[in-house]
């Protein structure tokens, strides 16, 4: 049985279709990255899955429970970490955890809280007000609170936004540790490096699911060709290439230029004369990155938020 199995989800706010026939399946124990630009419907999709929103169309189950009729049971088995810190800033870490433990009727409360604090290394900060925590610690608290009741599925909505790289690394180590214990994780993110730490990724843009699979599959299926241009005055090269037939993207990456196109022959034709036109410039075939793929997706889909 899949932990998440939803199909044809549609959610409209007014005349805007925020989620447009989204279908998604996540197997048990999988870590699935949920990617997409701002306003693409990631948060809305996650909220539908945990019963915070009702879908206008579409059916599905989460942990075997119907998302329309059994949202209360889903809430008991799912840990949902909101995008914005949503615990009580005027309560201490310990008090917040006790509150959550009591809501889930975990007994004995003290033991659960103590163990959770210990596991996440928060014991020494138990009596600190949650509002005074830094971003990284708030994130740890939020994670601690939503795994305390031993959920079978974690829904994490941009958990690492505004968190430093070290804390992000630790966070992902923790996610992998939990997943190895059988927990299923659906995590939305903007970061490409995080996407690469997922077993699979799903890419959503303007409400539509555009790609799903492993990172390698998504990159391969995109069918993009990438060339790397090196040399002096790359800004002039970029300006010259931009808009040529076959060139879909020209993006500077450090001291190089990534030139990406979906039609290999046209792209090669466009690049044929570059080395002659610009002195000292060298064109070599390159690897298409996940980011190249995503930017391609974004420019290809219509913005329904405008």
């Amino acid at each position: 049985m899949n932990a998440i199995d939803v199909h044809g989800l549609v959610k409209r706010f007014g005349d805007k279709t925020v989620v447009d026939h989204v279908t998604m399946a996540v197997a048990e124990g999988e870590i699935v990255g949920f990617l997409g630009p701002n306003g693409s419907g990631k948060t809305t999709t996650i909220r539908i899955m945990c019963g915070l929103l009702t879908a206008d169309e579409g059916e599905g189950t989460v942990l075997g429970f119907n998302i329309r009729t059994e949202s209360l049971r889903i809430k008991r088995e799912v840990g949902y970490m909101t995008q914005k810190f949503s615990f009580y800033e005027d309560l201490t870490i310990g008090e917040n955890l006790e509150f959550v433990a009591r809501l889930y009727r975990l007994k004995p409360v003290g033991e659960y809280v103590a163990r959770t604090l210990e596991e996440l290394g928060l014991t020494s900060r138990r009596d600190q007000l949650a509002g005074t925590l830094s971003g990284g610690w708030k994130q740890r608290l939020a994670l601690a609170a939503c795994i305390m009741h031993k959920p079978k599925l974690l829904l994490l909505d941009e958990p690492t936004a505004g968190v430093d790289p070290k804390a992000r690394r630790e966070f992902w180590d923790e996610i992998h540790r939990l997943a190895s214990g059988g927990l299923t994780v659906l995590v939305s993110t903007h970061y490409m490096d995080e996407a690469e730490r997922c077993h699979r990724i799903s890419y959503i843009s303007y409400g539509k699911m555009l790609a799903t699979g492993t990172v390698a599959e998504v990159v391969r299926n995109a069918g993009l060709t990438t060339f790397i241009v090196q040399g002096p005055h790359l800004d002039q090269v970029a300006a010259a290439l931009d808009g040529r037939p076959g060139v879909d993207q020209v993006a500077p990456f450090g001291a190089t230029l990534h030139v990406v196109g979906s039609d290999r022959e046209k792209l090669e034709a466009a690049l044929a004369d570059v080395e002659k036109e610009h002195k000292g410039v060298m064109v070599t075939p390159g690897e298409t990155s996940l980011e190249d793929v995503f930017i391609q997706f974004m420019s290809g889909s219509k913005d329904n938020m405008a």
Partner: protein
């Protein structure tokens, strides 16, 4: 360029401010609603010299002098004889319940004494729990009564001279013989203070969660609407209990307000009242989208309830439509209860209807709040 004052910059601020004002519908509504409401209420509803006050008549005989007296009192416009009580006890009960503001007693020997010129007396008992409400009616009394009597005697043309100046109108200010206005204000303040704090605090309850984003988390965890409502509302009952204790002790110590009724009865009524208030506040908080809006809605409710409940101005002085409107405020009913219990020593029978009203509010507010509560973020 670096001028201290620039009209262009001022213009930018003004435009921004007007745009924000237009977007905030509740502020907009307050802007139009509050002045209109005040105008209508102050202009039409409020009357510090209430007329046509319900009166009970206790008259044993039905002679011409008694009739003359009753019609004279009626002619003043202050007295409206709604009840004819068969006994003093019956009239007393009507007053304790608050059904009448005056009891006029014309003794059986009134006619005989008038004819004999033997100091005829009538007794007027006024409910002085609200001293200002009764003052107009009482002050016109002596003159009107003597003149009416003279006229009645003039028709008879007997003993006119001897009766002149001898009619005695005995006025009893019941429950508050000295007409101390604190006796009226302080028990009323109990209700007003409770209303002010209870409604406002609970009106913030849900909106605070929504504003801080904790609502999303609360909804994602297993908690039912009824649990959330009671969890929000019950703590404020405790706050209310502390306030009640403070006000009652202060009433006794600082203002020496007499407390003649049953404390248990009063406290039970207070409990129902506070419950109605916190549920009302909670209902407001299911409607408001921000704490600011919750505040505004609370004030939108406060103003008419202060004006129409009989706290600031005599309830009976208001026209019929305003009295009907006044009935929809819990404060109106609570004021009647506190004044009746504290000053008149009313028992449960006397205030049962008012307590029933408060219970109705509890049910209506709780129901509305639960219906309005959004279990999802839709």
């Amino acid at each position: 360029m670096n001028s201290v004052f620039s009209f262009a910059r001022l213009g930018a601020l003004l435009i921004k401010e007007f745009i924000q004002m237009r977007r905030d519908r509740i502020t907009f509504a307050m802007m139009l609603g509050v002045p209109l409401m005040q105008l209508v209420l102050f202009g039409f509803a409020i009357n510090n010299d209430p007329k046509s006050l319900p009166t009970a008549l206790v008259a044993i005989s039905n002679d011409q002098y008694t009739r003359a007296m009753v019609s004279a009192l009626q002619m003043t416009g202050y007295y409206r004889f709604d009840y004819v009580a068969r006994s003093a006890a019956e009239a007393e009960a009507l007053m304790a319940k608050g059904a009448v503001s005056f009891v006029v007693t014309i003794p059986a020997d009134f006619a005989r004494r008038v004819e004999r010129g033997d100091n005829p007396q009538i007794l007027i008992e006024a409910d002085a729990t609200d001293p200002s409400a009764a003052s107009g009616a009482v002050s016109t009394l002596s003159n009107v009564a003597s003149q009416a009597l003279l006229r009645a005697q003039g028709m008879q043309a007997t003993a006119a001279e001897s009766a002149r100046g001898q009619l005695q109108v005995v006025v009893h200010r019941r429950y508050n013989p000295e007409g101390v206005s604190q006796y009226n204000i302080v028990p009323g303040l109990l209700g007003v203070i409770l209303q002010m704090t209870m409604v406002m605090m609970t009106a913030m309850a849900l909106t605070r969660e929504t504003e801080r984003g904790t609502m999303e988390n609360l909804l994602a965890m297993p908690s039912s609407p009824a649990e959330i409502m009671l969890g929000k509302v019950l703590p404020f009952l405790v706050v209310g209990a502390v306030q009640v204790a403070v006000v009652l002790v202060a009433a006794k110590l600082l203002f020496s307000i007499p407390f003649v009724g049953s404390l248990t009865l009063l406290l039970s009524a207070v409990l129902v009242f506070v419950l109605a208030l916190v549920l009302l506040g909670y209902t407001i908080s299911t409607m408001a989208r921000s704490q600011m809006q919750a505040m505004q809605l609370t004030f939108f409710f406060f103003l008419p309830s202060l004006l129409l409940s009989g706290f600031m101005f005599p309830y009976r002085g208001m026209p019929g439509w305003a009295q009907v409107l006044g009935e929809i405020f819990p404060l109106t009913h609570f004021l009647r209860i506190t004044r009746a219990v504290m000053l008149k020593g009313a028992d449960f029978n006397a205030i049962g209807t008012e307590v029933g009203w408060l219970l109705l509010f509890v049910v209506v507010f709780a129901g509305t709040a639960l219906l309005r509560f959004r279990r999802t973020l839709d």
